[in-house]
Amino acid sequence: MSDFDAAALRRFVELFADRIHERRDELTQLDSAIGDADHGINMDRGFNAARGKLAELDGSDLGATAKAVGMTLISTVGGASGPLYGTLFLRLGTAFGDRTAVAAGELGQALRAALDGVRQRGKAELDDKTMVDAMSPAVDAYEATSGDGIGAALDAAATAAAGGRDRITPLVARKGRASYLGERAANHQDPGATSTTILFESLRDAVAAG
């Protein structure tokens, strides 16, 4: 497996944008049950803008590309998802620095930095029933398998994200809009953990397609 470069990052963002668009109504439906019925709409708007931003950029600079995606998300998504997904990509960008490609271990460090950024911005911990519950096990699984190469590690990460998403469905939410519902939020799948799982699946598939 080759290193993760700007071309792979572009494929990842574009594939994620496609899948968010395809599953926009599903995400909004999940958000209607325990939130305010806008998650799919907002993510679709933001990642469509990010796709447009990528078309304007022609560099092979991995860090600058990730940062441009992050800034675009912060400026276009709104809600909680804008700052959270924006921070995720900004931290990836900072970790990538001015490199044009990173190896498996460095990609793991970047994903860890992104997770830390999301946690700081949203002040969410494990079991609060948020995107952190999908992202945290994904990053753990990536790190545990990164010795086997990027492809294998991303495969493990995507599986772990989905596991995290499903694990928290029975829980009562402690952060975000769903927390206002108290017990009524239990036994509903979390929209943020769902979009984060799609993110890791897109990352896995975009790298595999390279």
């Binding site: 049950a33 019925a37 806008d38 809600g79 804008g82 402690r174 206002y180």
Partner: protein
């Protein structure tokens, strides 16, 4: 879905264009979607801005004008605005005396305002923020995102806007806003859901004989679903937790605000107000000022919220001070 609209994607932009056409004497709209008082910035005056998702009209854009907000940042429907908007608003109203951000307590609003405040401060503008979190339906605990900002926001914007208008400095205006927050409590209920235009269908289904109690302002489900009651029973279910929470006690002077959620006629709000007045009288709480109408809404949702603010002399004086906005106007 039946709505007066052309296209869901254009809804906010077209509404803002309409506001500009209707109220060009009070406000203008600048990029990226910021409603700014027409004479901003005023040199030496503290700027007061707020913002939040669209769909709550007249809040916040309808409160931009003399004696209230200097700018409002409308996001997409029920979606907090982006930091670029609050940064543009802050710069547009900064008259050198600093800018207060009035933020409703929702995770997204908090994060986007925080990002904007960091950016504005890095450009040398003094920023303070007060978070409004007045909804007693939500427990303020480690296990929730904290109380939501609801009806108290309208009262805070009016009172704080008046203080800024008369020349109070940033520290005083900020402390006053916090004092309003500390003394205001609200609770809401819904008879129907509402339809986010881009989603195309109602956020929740509800039977003809049911109601949602403890709702916020985003068409979301509330704390619990109950059998529909009479107006008096509903008012009691909302007002009792409010009275008990602060608590409001005998001898207190209050501003009582009965708010419609967008789809409830004024005649029903007066029925609610009648019961509010009776319950306050029973408790020895004096309603010194009131506001009845739909000022913080959830699109076409039917239902109401009740807000009580414990007044002091300064708050009462500032509530009475002249205001001239699209939605509230007296003395000016």
């Amino acid at each position: 879905m039946k709505k007066l609209m052309n296209a869901a994607d254009d809804l906010v932009d077209e509404a803002l264009a309409g506001m500009t056409a209707a109220h060009g004497d009070l406000l203008r709209v600048i990029e990226p979607n910021v409603v700014v008082r027409v004479d901003a910035p005023r040199q030496g005056k503290v700027g007061v801005i707020s913002g939040g998702g669209s769909g709550h009209e007249p809040m916040h854009g309808g409160f931009v004008g003399t004696g209230m907000l200097d700018a409002a940042c409308p996001g997409a429907v029920f979606t907090s605005p982006v930091p670029d908007q609050m940064l543009a608003a802050t710069k547009a109203v900064d008259g050198g005396a600093g800018v207060l951000h009035i933020v409703k307590n929702y995770t997204g609003d908090i994060m986007n305002f925080e990002l904007a405040a960091e950016l504005a401060q890095s450009e040398g503008i003094e920023i303070t923020s007060v978070v409004i979190a007045d909804d007693v339906a939500v427990q303020d605990s480690l296990y929730t995102a904290g109380r939501r900002g609801v009806g108290g926001t309208v009262l805070a914007e009016k009172i704080v806007g008046a203080a800024a208008e008369e020349g109070q400095d940033l520290a005083a205006v900020t402390a006053l806003c916090q004092r309003v927050q500390d003394n205001v409590r609200s609770m809401g209920m819904a008879l129907t859901s509402c339809t986010v235009p881009a989603a195309g269908k109602p956020t929740f289904e509800i039977g003809d004989d049911e109601m949602e109690v403890g709702v916020g302002i985003h068409g979301e489900p509330g704390r619990e679903r109950r059998k529909l009651g009479s107006a008096d029973e509903i008012t009691e279910a909302l007002l009792t937790p409010i009275l008990d929470d602060l608590p409001f006690s005998s001898g207190d002077r209050v501003l009582a605000f009965v708010n419609g959620m967008g789809g409830t006629p004024l005649i029903e709000l007066y029925i609610v107000y009648n019961k509010v007045a009776a319950m306050c009288a029973e408790r020895g709480v004096t309603i010194e000022r009131n506001l009845v109408g739909s000022y913080i809404t959830s699109l076409e949702m039917a239902g109401c919220s009740i807000t009580l603010l414990k007044l002091d002399d300064e708050m009462t004086r500032l509530w009475d001070a002249p205001v001239h906005t699209a939605a509230l106007r007296w003395g000016a």
